[in-house]
C-alpha cells in the first residue's frame, strides 16, 4: 500500500461560513495502480489532491484525518520534510497547462530545477536528464525545444512538459488533476496515451482526477465517485461501469450522449443542481436530486458500505432496508 488516506476532511473558512470541501474520505492506492476520482465540478477532487500534496492555501486547512504515504503521515510533517517528498516521491500534473508553467523561465530551467533539487545532480547532468525526459514524453527535437519558453508551445506540448517535469525524479505516485480537460479531443487522446505509456515504463501509481467518465473507463483500474466532498461510490472500473450502484453514478452514466448510441431518445436527466456547499442539505447530499430518494435519505447520512468489493454510500443498498431490493433490479 503506497498511499492511504484516512478520514480526511478539508475545510475552507470563509467569511460567510465554512465550506467542508472534502468530508471524511478514506481510500488507498497501491503501487503501480491507477486510481481515478470522478465527480462533478466542485465535488472536492482538486482539494483532495492538494491536501495530499500539502499545498492547500489559506483559507483552506486540513480539518482532520491522516494521509499516510509509505506509512508516514504527511499531514504531520514539517514543510521541510514535505519538500523532500514533493516533486520527488509524489509529483503532480495540473489541469491548466497554459498557466501552470512559469512564463518567464525556459522550460529546461523549470525541469532542471526539480531535478537538481531532488536528485542532487550537477547542472550538466541535470540538463541531460531534462532532455532525456522531454524525449520520453514525446517532444520532438527535445534539445532545442528545451530552450523554449512555455508560450512558444501548444497546450498539448506544455502538458507533456508538465508530465516530463513531474516524472523527472521518478516519483512513486503521480497525481494528475484533470490533465486532459483543457485540451482538444485529438490532443486529449495523445496525452492519455502518454500517461498510460509512462505508467508502463516507470511503474508509478497514478491518482487520476477527472470528471470525464470516458477517460476513467479507458484508463483507470479503480474508481472513486465523489459528490459534494464525499465518496459516494468506489469500485474497480469494470464493476463500476457494469453495475453502477449509486443513483448519482447511474444518472451520470445515462445522461451522457453516447457516441455509439443510435437512438433519438431524450437523454436521461438528473434534476436540480448541486447544493450550495455552505448549506449542505441534511442527510444524503444527493437526496434532493435523487429519483429514488427515501424518507430517511433527507434525515441522515448513509454510511459507505461494501458489497462484494464495491463500495457505495446509499440507503438503497442497506441489507436490512427495503432499498436492499433495488440491487436486484
Amino acid at each position: 500500500m503506497l498511499l492511504e488516506v484516512k478520514n480526511l476532511s478539508t475545510e475552507f473558512k470563509l467569511k460567510r461560513g465554512t465550506v467542508r470541501a472534502v468530508d471524511d474520505i478514506s481510500f488507498t492506492i497501491d503501487k503501480g495502480e491507477i486510481l481515478a476520482i470522478v465527480g462533478e465540478s466542485g465535488s472536492g477532487k482538486s482539494v483532495t489532491s492538494l491536501s495530499i500534496m500539502g499545498l492547500l492555501q489559506k483559507p483552506g486547512r486540513i480539518a482532520g484525518g491522516q494521509i499516510l504515504f509509505n506509512s508516514q503521515d504527511l499531514n504531520k510533517m514539517s514543510q521541510k520534510e514535505l519538500q523532500q517528498i514533493r516533486g520527488n516521491q509524489i509529483s503532480m500534473i495540473f489541469q491548466e497547462p497554459m498557466t501552470s508553467l512559469n512564463p518567464v523561465w525556459r522550460i529546461k530551467d523549470q525541469i532542471m530545477e526539480s531535478v537538481m533539487t531532488h536528485m542532487k545532480l550537477s547542472k550538466k547532468e541535470a540538463l541531460a536528464r531534462t532532455i532525456e525526459m522531454l524525449d520520453t514524453v514525446g517532444i520532438p527535437s527535445p534539445a532545442e525545444r528545451a530552450n523554449d519558453y512555455p508560450h512558444q508551445m501548444s497546450g498539448g506540448m506544455r502538458q507533456r512538459v508538465m508530465t516530463a517535469m513531474a516524472l523527472s525524479c521518478g516519483p512513486d505516485l503521480l497525481i494528475a488533476d484533470e490533465p486532459t480537460t483543457a485540451l482538444d479531443v485529438t490532443i486529449q487522446a495523445q496525452i492519455l496515451e502518454l500517461l498510460y505509456r509512462m505508467r508502463e515504463k516507470f511503474g508509478m501509481a497514478v491518482l487520476l482526477i477527472t470528471h470525464d467518465l470516458g477517460v476513467v473507463s479507458e484508463a483507470a483500474d479503480r474508481v472513486i465517485v465523489m459528490y459534494c466532498g464525499k465518496i459516494v461510490e468506489e469500485a474497480n472500473v469494470k464493476s463500476l461501469f457494469a453495475h453502477p450502484m449509486h443513483p448519482y453514478t447511474v444518472g451520470l452514466l445515462q445522461s451522457i450522449p453516447q457516441i455509439d448510441d443510435e437512438s433519438d431518445e431524450p437523454l436521461y436527466m438528473i434534476k436540480g443542481m448541486v447544493p450550495n456547499p455552505l448549506r449542505m442539505p441534511q442527510g444524503c447530499p444527493f437526496s434532493d436530486r435523487c429519483d429514488r430518494c427515501l424518507e430517511r435519505c433527507t434525515q441522515e447520512m448513509p454510511e459507505l458500505q461494501e458489497i462484494d468489493g464495491h463500495k457505495v454510500r446509499c440507503f438503497l443498498y442497506n441489507q436490512d432496508s427495503e432499498g436492499g431490493r433495488a440491487q436486484n433490479e
Binding site: 500534496m53 499545498l55 516533486g87 501552470s100 512564463p103 518567464v104 523561465w105
Partner: protein, 338 residues
C-alpha cells in the same frame, strides 16, 4: 521589435505637435500679456506696443504658431522674454538638476517601494504588511510640498543635519561636464563634493520619492499577491522547492514585471512633482523655473520645456515597453507573431 520601436517613434511626432498646440493655445491665446513683466515698472504703452510688435505678438495666431514651428525645426526655440537668453540654453542649464533629482528619487522610491511591497505581500496581513501599507497610504495622502517643509524644519532648521536648499555647496561646485553633480564630482575625483551633493539630495529626493514610493509599494504588493496566486507558483511548490526559493525565483521575477510600467509612469509624474519639490527646496531645476515662467507668461520657455518633458515622457514610456518586452518573453512573442 525594431519595427515596433520605429512605429512608436513615428507616433511621437503627432503627439509633440499636439502638445505644442495645446501649450500654444493656453500660453499664447489665453494667457495674460507678458509685456508688463518683461518691460518693468517704466514701461509705457508705447514701449509695450513696440515690444509686442518686435516679438511677433501682434501677428495672427496661426502665423505665430507657424513661426514657432519653423524655429523649433531648426532647433531654435526662441529667446526667453524675460532673461533674453536663448531658451535652449535656459533649459539645458537647469535640466540636469531636475533629472538628477528625479533619478535619485525614483531609485529611492523603487528600492524602498519594492522592498516594502514584497515584504507586505509575502507576509500578508502581518504587522509588517499593515505597517507597510500605512506608510504607503500616508505617502499618497501627504501633500509633497508640506512634507518637504516638514523635512526642512526637522532636519535643517532644527537638527541642522542636512542642507535645506541648493544642489551643492557653491564652493565645491565641480566642473560642469555632464551637469549631474554626482557624476561630475566622481569624474573630478572629488569625494568631498560627491558627499556634499548627496547630502543636498537627501531631503528633496525623499520628499519627491515619497508619493512614488507609496504607489510602487502598493503596486508591488498587489502584483506579488496576484502572482502568488498563479498556477505556476503552485507548480513550483509541487516541485518541492523551498518557499524562499519559490518567492525569490518564481514569484518575484513575474511579480516585478508590471512594476516596470509603474516605475516608468512614476518617472513621468516625478517630473510633475518636481515642480513643487523644487519650489520648496530652491532646487535649481526646470520645474520651479517653468512655473515661474508660466506665471510670467514667458511663452518661449514654457513651450520649450513642455515639449522637452513630453518628449522625455514618451521616450520613457517607449523604453519601459521595450524593457517590458525584454523581461517578459511572452511580449516578444506576440510581437513576432502579431
Amino acid at each position: 521589435m525594431l519595427k515596433y520601436i520605429l512605429k512608436r517613434i513615428l507616433m511621437l511626432i503627432p503627439v509633440l505637435i499636439g502638445v505644442s498646440i495645446i501649450v500654444f493655445l493656453i500660453m499664447r491665446v489665453f494667457s495674460p500679456d507678458p509685456s508688463p513683466i518683461v518691460l518693468g515698472q517704466h514701461a509705457t504703452q508705447q514701449a509695450t506696443e513696440a515690444w509686442r510688435q518686435a516679438n511677433g505678438l501682434n501677428d495672427p495666431v496661426y502665423m505665430q504658431y507657424f513661426n514657432f514651428i519653423k524655429g523649433a525645426l531648426t532647433g531654435d526655440l526662441g529667446t526667453s522674454y524675460y532673461t533674453k537668453t536663448p531658451v535652449v540654453k535656459e533649459i539645458f542649464s537647469r535640466f540636469p538638476a531636475t533629472i538628477e533629482l528625479a533619478l535619485v528619487a525614483i531609485v529611492l522610491a523603487s528600492i524602498f517601494g519594492i522592498l516594502i511591497g514584497v515584504i507586505s505581500a509575502v507576509k500578508k496581513n502581518s504587522i509588517f504588511d499593515n505597517a507597510g501599507m500605512l506608510i504607503a497610504l500616508i505617502g499618497v495622502s501627504m501633500p509633497i510640498f508640506w512634507l518637504g517643509i516638514l523635512l526642512i524644519i526637522l532636519f535643517s532648521g532644527t537638527l541642522h543635519w542636512l542642507p535645506s536648499n541648493g544642489r551643492i555647496d557653491p564652493l565645491l561646485q565641480p566642473m560642469n561636464v555632464t551637469g549631474f553633480y554626482l557624476i561630475d564630482s566622481l569624474i573630478a575625483g572629488d569625494m568631498y563634493a560627491f558627499k556634499d551633493t548627496l547630502r543636498h539630495l537627501v531631503l528633496p529626493a525623499t520628499a519627491l520619492a515619497m508619493y512614488s514610493m507609496a504607489i510602487i509599494t502598493r503596486m508591488t504588493r498587489s502584483s506579488m499577491l496576484e502572482t502568488l496566486q498563479q498556477d505556476y507558483i503552485r507548480t513550483a511548490r509541487a516541485k518541492g522547492i523551498s518557499e524562499g526559493k519559490v518567492i525569490r525565483k518564481h514569484a518575484l521575477r513575474n511579480g516585478l514585471i508590471p512594476i516596470v510600467t509603474v516605475i516608468g509612469l512614476q518617472l513621468g509624474s516625478l517630473l510633475g512633482g518636481a515642480v513643487l519639490t523644487e519650489t520648496v527646496f530652491s532646487w535649481p531645476g526646470i520645474g520651479a523655473y517653468t512655473v515661474a515662467c508660466i506665471l510670467k507668461s514667458d511663452f518661449p520657455v514654457v513651450q520649450g520645456v513642455v515639449l522637452l518633458i513630453a518628449f522625455i515622457f514618451v521616450m520613457v514610456n517607449l523604453l519601459v515597453d521595450v524593457i517590458y518586452a525584454f523581461l517578459d518573453p511572452r511580449i516578444k512573442y506576440s510581437k513576432a507573431k502579431g
